[in-house]
Homo-oligomer: 408 residues x 2
């Protein structure tokens, strides 16, 4: 079989399971999700897997290993953002099925059980939560999420149960870590690195930790005509210096990302000196200590700028999520298979969160990234080539074979 | 009479002609305006003036001069912003009445006619236009403004006529420049300069020209986690450098003011690189050539920053109003009276627009500024002291006397 072409065919077919026709909109526990699961279930069966929907709404395709053998999990999510692309998430499910189908076709029997997991909800678009599927497996599911509602007022618990899941039973899905070899996820990079370096594949070193900070500079407003420049306590001028310095500092630090994504000026009037500015500073780094040091640097910059201009400065961390390092042996198996094809394997961090982030609470994890066009993601412009997907199927199949020779 | 104490008493009394009790809210052609005009008319009569409402809604108190003599105009506006202060505008009307009352009490007969003008609308809060009164006198009134409506849908023309004015006749109010000696306005500074220098009064050199520019930086958005720092085309980073550089450049230029008062980020999401930033750059300067040169500098900075970061930059002037220099002899008469009391006279530009700006199209103009507390204006915190107001009455009266000895 032409594995890349088949991946492309399947992704085209399943893209039709969407509320919208331009981009893909497939939200959890909807008719589109059910239609997608019908297709995925068929592809799982074609790979020799037996299929069931677990209580948390994850479609599971399982092939048992030898009596008493542990299980290796592979997968990603089926859902999309609103008007998203054809690759984010679902490609990882399709390529996992194809890799197992390929091993089956080659008559390879793995010395461990394998499961392909198609998670219901990674994007968190319909309900204000996400990662329910992997959290259920890791035993980290918060029972309160079942009371969350979507825009139409539907409870998550009710939507899950109408779909064939079971909120109460979802809380009992935790797998035994000693029986779980690891979790592998294949995903588009969602960034420009591989494309810029002309590489089809990359092996993820870890998933960056994330923190978000609310920053406020407060000065004094005044009439833009009557208050001379000297002695102004302009909050926007100080905030602007902060944005530029934080950016420059982040550029000097490998693999760290710092972004001021939102900024609001008060009173926001053409002829009034800005009194206060609220902005958000998001910091991501594969190393939590690097991230903490950078936050300290940003805080010191902000305090210094504020003091110099007679302003006040506040910086409060509103969210933090630690970094998830990928497992060395699992990552090594992927890197070895990539190197066999390309001479070397590009290692890179994942700046975005994935199902893998939650699976890391259960077992060792690793990720394979595919180059995507223009780094586009969460958009109908998302694209990965059939050739790259074919290569990923090969690499995934070979990594599984490799793991069977050198058990983790 | 204690002129300063009387000014304070009158300003307290007229502050009650307000929609609100905390700050003053007195909009044109409202019951509050009518109640204020009743008081002002009484004060005009007390100064020996004969009172009428002109067709543009300006309350005019006139004292004829000798047969055939020209007229000197003095005044300001009666209206306030919403929840504004007790001094902005109305103080200039009150002090003009008191200066003429004082001259009358002293038996001084001026060799020219005098008029106190209480304009209906300088703030432009109720209708999206302003300065109707002075424009009518200058012959620069745009007849289309009468079709503008307030929030409740009332036409300006109808509101004016219900108040006793006449839209059609307002277009025929233009005064003869050869019969008009000039226009004097007393106003709070609305800035911190006089207070910082411990001075009661200042003489205005001119009213700054103003221009407003719409500035847009356009880059490329992307995921704040997946796109490395290098190669980002972050519109907010470039815009921030622009804000800081424009501020620093303005600080280096005496009497020029440059303010970025509004700034909007798109898409304004915590984990998305800003794709574009829209901001406004307002520039004010007493010299139009300085202002134009500064705008060129800002444009060059923006273009340079955008080019360096792979962005596009647009800067469009959306509004411009030329500077209005004050008349040397009128200004000199005020400065001489101030100097007689304080040893010297502080000269300073007006960064804000005033009725004087529109009166300059008719005749020579000059302004006297009073120190105000904390530079506060358009706020209930607005304050000028009785002592300073008393001094202003003296100065204004003496300047009028001075002008009668050295006709302009």
């Amino acid at each position: 079989m032409e594995w890349g072409a088949e991946a492309e065919r399947r992704l085209t077919e399943i893209a039709a399971c969407s509320e919208t026709t331009d981009g893909v909109t497939r939200l959890p526990f909807t008719p589109e999700h059910a239609a997608a699961n019908d297709l995925i279930g068929r592809w799982m069966e074609q790979a020799g897997l037996s299929v069931h929907l677990d209580a948390a709404g994850t479609l599971v395709g399982r092939k048992a290993g030898p009596e008493g053998a542990p299980t290796l999990l592979i997968g990603s999510h089926q859902d999309s953002v609103r008007n998203g692309g054809r690759y984010d998430g679902i490609m990882g499910v399709v390529l996992a099925c194809l890799a197992l189908e390929r091993l089956q076709a080659e008559g390879v029997a793995l010395p461990f059980g394998t499961e392909v997991l198609a998670f219901a909800d990674e994007e968190g678009v319909r309900f204000p939560t996400a990662l329910m599927g992997p959290r259920a497996l890791a035993g980290t599911l918060d029972p309160e999420i079942f009371d969350l509602t979507d825009r139409a007022g539907n409870r998550l618990g009710a939507a899950l149960e109408a779909f064939g899941g079971d909120a109460e039973a979802a809380l009992t899905l935790a797998r035994d870590p000693t029986r779980t070899l690891g979790f592998l996820e294949v995903h588009i990079e969602q960034g420009p690195v591989l494309e810029e370096e002309n590489l089809a594949l990359g092996v993820v070193t870890g998933i960056c930790g994330i923190e978000r900070n609310r920053v406020r500079f407060t000065g004094e407003t005044g009439h833009a005509g009557t208050v001379p420049m000297q002695g102004r306590r302009d909050a926007l001028v100080a905030a602007s210096r902060f944005v530029a310095r934080v950016h420059d500092a982040a550029c000097a630090q490998p693999d760290l990302r710092a972004t001021v994504g939102t900024l609001e000026v008060h009173p926001d009037v053409v002829n009034a000196i800005p009194e206060s500015v609220d902005l958000t500073l998001e910091i991501r780094a594969p190393d939590d200590a690097d991230r903490a040091r950078f936050a300290d640097t940003a805080r010191a910059e902000g305090e210094g700028l504020a003091a110099a201009a007679g302003l006040t400065f506040e910086m409060d961390r509103t969210y933090a999520q630690p970094a998830v390092p990928c497992d060395a042996p699992l990552r090594g198996a992927l890197a070895k298979a990539v190197t066999a094809r390309s001479g070397s394997a590009r290692l890179l961090p994942s700046g975005a969160t994935h199902d893998t982030s939650a699976m890391a609470d259960l077992c060792p994890v690793a990720m394979l990234f595919l180059r995507c066009r223009d780094g586009a993601s969460h958009s109908p412009r998302e694209f990965a080539s059939a050739a790259d997907m074919g290569l990923a199927v090969e690499v995934l199949a070979e990594a599984l074979t490799g793991l069977s020779r050198h058990p983790v």
